[in-house]
Structure formats: C-alpha cells, structure tokens
Symmetry: C2
Subunit: 315 residues, 2 copies
DNA sequence: GTCTATAAAGAGATAGAC
DNA sequence: GTCTATCTCTTTATAGAC
C-alpha cells in the first residue's frame, strides 16, 4: 500500500507546486494575468498537466483565495488575546490594513476582484455573525479560539507559534487539524477572521463602551468597510494617502473607537495623536517601520506591486 | 468653411457614438469585457474605424472615466449649497454611495480598476486640497461660479454655484472653462468633486465642530475611504450589507460626523436611527426609494450589474 | 501521468484598397 | 473615412500518443 500513498503524496506535491507558482505569478503580475500557460511554464510542465489537478483556472483562483484568507486570519489570531476590546479592535484594524498593503495582489484577489471569490470564503459569515450576536454570551465564542486561550502568555509574543503552525497547507503534519482549525487554508478562514472582530465588538458593547442600541453587526460592517476602503484606495488610487497611511488609519480608528487611549501600548495623548503621529506611533503588528512614508509594513513576504498594469489582457 | 465644420461635427458625432456604445457595454458586461470589436459591432462600423477616433482601447477607457467623474460631480453640485457643513457632508456621503450603487460598473471603472484610470482625473487633487486648506478662505471662491446657475434651478437652491466654482485646480483663473465646468467630461471633474467635500470640511473645522488640531486633508481622506469601502464592498462582497445599505451608511456618517442631527431633513433621533432605520430614513439625493432593501437608489440610468462575471477573459 | 499538438475563440492593432 | 483582410498574440481547454 505504500505505493499508492507515495503516488498520492507526489500528486499532492505537484498540486502544491502549481499553487506556489500561481501564487508567485499573482503576486508579481496580478491576478488578471494569471494563466494556465504561465503556471505550466513556471513549474516546467505542460499546460495539460494542470488540468489533472485543477479543473479550471477558476479552481486555482479559489484555492489561492482560501490561502489568502488563511493568511489574513493568521495575522489576526495573535491579536485576539489583547485584553481590552477597543485596543484589540485597533490592533486588528491596523493589522488588516497592514496585510492589505503588504500583500496587495493577494488582497486584490480576495476582496476586490470577483464577487464569487469574495463570497466563497465569506458565505456563512452573515449567519455566523448573527449567531454570535444573538445567542452566545460575550466570551463563549473563544472556546474555539484556542489561540486566545493559552495566549494568556505575554503580550503578542507567545502566540506567534500558534499562527506559525497554521501556515498554509501544512497538510500532513497537522494531524488533528481540528485543534488548529484556523490554519487550514481550505476552511472558511474568512469567516473566522471576521468572527474575531465580531467578538471584540461584542465585548466592547458588553463593556458599555458602545451604544447599547447599536446593532453590532452593522457597526462591524461599517468598520470593516472603513478599513477596506483605506486599503482599496491605497492600492488603486495613486494619490490616496497624501499623509502617511499610518496617520489615516489612526484617524479612522479614532473616529470609530473614540479618541480614548484606554490601552497601554501607546503613550501619546489622543489629541496630539490624532494629527501627526508619524513619529510616536507604534503599530501593533510585527515588523512595522514607523517612519515609513506610504506603507505600514511591507517587507515580509510582500507581494510586489506589479509594474505591469493588472489589466485584463493588454497587447 | 461650412464643409469642414460639417465634417468636424460628423467626426465628433461618431466619436460620441463610439463612447455611447462603449459605455453601454461597460455597464452591461463590465469593463473587462470591453473590446474594440464589440464597440465596432455595436455601432455597425469596422474595428479599424475606431482607431481613427481613438488611438487605443485605453484612450476610450480614459474618456469613459472622465465621463464618470463628471457624472459623479453632477450629483454633488446641487448638494454643495446645503448650508450646514455637517449636513452637507452627510448628503455628499449618501450621494456618493448612491452613485456607486446606482452605477456599479462605472464606479468600478473609475475607482476600482486601474490605478492609471483612477489617478488620471485625480492627479492634482492632493496639491489642490493642500492649497484649499492653507491659503484661500473658506468661502472666497464662489465669486466666479456661474456653473451652478442653471443647475441650481432644482431642489436645493441657490448656493450651488459656490462649489461649482472651485472645480478646477483653482490654479489658473477659472475664467471661461469654469462656467461649464461640471458638465464637461474632459475636465478634471474628479478633483472638483473631492474639492466640494474638502470645502465642507474646512467650514466644519472653521465652525469649531472639528478638532482644531485635525488635519483636514487626512480627515477627508479617511472619510472618503469609508464611503469608498462601503461602495466597494457592496459591489464585490456578496454578503456585505447584511443590514440595509442605508443603515450602514448612517452608522458610518454618525461615526464621522457625530450623532447629532442638526440638519432638518431627517426626523429620527440619532439613537433610534443608528440601529434600524430602514423605514424612516429619507436620503437626500433625488429619486431614492426609502424602502428598498439593499440599494440606496438605483433606478435612474443605472448600470445593470452584469450577470457575466467581470473577470479578465473567460472562455 | 505526462506529453505534443491543436482546436476554438478572442484580443489589439495595422496595411492598403477604395 | 471607411472598409476588408490580416497579422500577431493570447487565452482556456481537450484529444490522443506514449
């Protein structure tokens, strides 16, 4: 029986190579210019071979999307343990923007390209959010969010392994993936990511720091829209952030979460912070260069913004 | 000389027909599937003819963008006269979202497609905004604004000229072009539209209703990003507004402009309004069906959301 | 499983006749 | 100015040899 297993492994390996190549092409040239031929060339196989592993270009795109959602979720998980819900939301917001800026083409693919891609991983999120809002008490949800549980450890530092483990398609080694659920790229990581935000919001409301009459889901969607707008404009509008992106994000967070700096991590008064914080601001997500002008943080494994325009198909 | 004029007119007419056809195709099938051949078929000319009027597909796209910006500006102009700056910003925000929802493919083309398209009409906006912030007093520009004159006929009244005036990059005296500025699609309507918002913001600050230390430009950009995010998610994310879009927009406006309903047009208290206003809400822009579930207002000349996915090029 | 070869469709853009 | 005809290039996807 070892033979079939080996073959299965080989097949799986080629599948991964295909996805790897596809991911690289998307990051380099944008999703629009991803083609079966390019993938085939990149992995030095014939185009026909790809169809033995994926039924169509679209299926590859879906797989890439799932990876993207998982990747985003990974940046969220370690932040889920921040105690203060407002501060946690701030961190999540910054991480979200940082993710979009660091992986422009991935973000584009996931959130700005095709409704069917965006919807695929978010299909049940509406239902999920409603469930969270209605029934479950504030904290019960993080039962599945084991990340936050043991995270009782230090600030952000400890949980990093958790996320590291859930890397993409860690497939074989993961054994019981249930415990590491958020890592699986083929799971609905998108919902999980939004769920983290929703939970923080619930706590915020429970703490009385959000109008009791406010519909949490609506608030969350509007908040998300703000973050998405910042990322999207940043990727699409060349003149968008005339000020450093950090500043814009800060203003937005202040608008949504109030100007209070209840949390400890930042030591600037809200008033002075609102205007020009380019210097003192320290972002929460790892590896952010505070002084960077336009980007929030981009060095790690970042998609390079394609020089070639991501148009449909130019001659 | 009448002959050359006639020929010029005919040439111009064909140019318009080309653009008309292109616009229809974009609205029906999305920009990605706009091709020279389709345009040629639509107007019953040969593809080669198109190249006598436009150097490339890209040039046609640029022209469509300019039209789109002008269209957006037109919806802004009548709102520019709303006296209270906060209320004006609310109206502008709602109009912006309504425009995006009513003309999804146009909005996509202008703000979500290619940076070069988005940047073309917004090139100088950063500089312009800075100029507005620094030098000119809040109201000074309305001297030369006759643009709103004919437009102002309708609903909101008299002051529309004010904003219309500041349309172009203010730099060279507006003189003759200013008169018809908002209508001309080939002018930088994009800047003008954003400028209207910027002015309202300046007034808001001048009225002391915005933190004096706040950088207006940053605030404006973040505010814009929120609106853009709402529209963009609405167009791209199938599950986005779980609540009526109106509600989400309302929450966002409350977050940015405070919860006060200083203006008169809406008769709901801010508290009750924030949660479920699907019924009582009356939007400011014309022709808005209050009861509509997902859309803010969509019947007039709306792009139909293409059934075919606006992907790159599917087989 | 993987290949070569190719079908079928579509794109942008141009040459040159009229 | 307009057309026909065509070049060149790209794409997804499949058939059938090996």
């Amino acid at each position: 029986m070892g033979i079939v297993e080996r073959k299965s492994r080989q097949k799986q390996a080629l599948r991964e190579r295909i996805l790897d190549a596809a991911r690289r092409i998307v990051m380099r040239e944008g999703f629009a210019s991803l083609s079966m031929r390019k993938i085939a060339d990149a992995i030095e196989y014939s185009p026909a071979t790809l169809y033995l592993h994926f039924a169509s270009r679209d299926e590859i795109a879906q797989a890439l999307c799932a990876e993207g959602y998982a990747q985003l979720l990974e940046t969220f998980v370690p932040l889920a343990q921040i105690a203060d819900p407002a501060e946690r939301l701030r961190a999540l917001g910054r991480a979200y923007v940082a993710f979009g800026v660091a992986h422009p083409e991935t973000y584009r693919l996931i959130f700005m390209e095709d409704p069917s891609y965006t919807g695929a991983a978010l299909g049940g999120v509406a239902a999920a959010s409603r469930a969270a809002v209605s029934g479950a008490a504030v904290m019960d949800a993080d039962a599945d969010a084991d990340a936050g549980a043991d995270a009782g450890a230090g600030a952000v530092g400890e949980a990093s392994e958790i996320t590291a483990a859930k890397t993409p398609a860690a497939g074989p080694p993961v054994s019981e993936k249930a415990s590491l659920a958020p890592a699986k790229p083929d799971e609905d990581s998108g919902e999980a990511a939004l769920h983290i935000m929703l939970c923080a919001l619930e706590e915020l409301k429970a703490a009385g720091r959000l109008s009791a009459s406010m519909d949490v889901t609506v608030w969350a969607e509007a908040f998300w829209a703000t973050l998405h707008g910042i990322v999207a404009l940043n990727l699409t509008c060349p003149v968008f952030p005339s000020a450093p992106l950090d500043t814009v994000v800060g203003v937005a967070l202040d608008a949504w979460l109030g100007t209070q700096n209840a949390g400890q991590p930042r030591g600037v008064t809200s008033a002075s912070r609102a205007r020009k914080k380019k210097s003192a601001e320290t972002s929460v997500e790892p590896r952010v260069e505070p002084g960077t002008k336009p980007a929030i943080g981009a060095e790690t494994n970042a998609d390079t913004k394609p020089a070639a325009k991501p148009k449909a198909a130019s001659a």
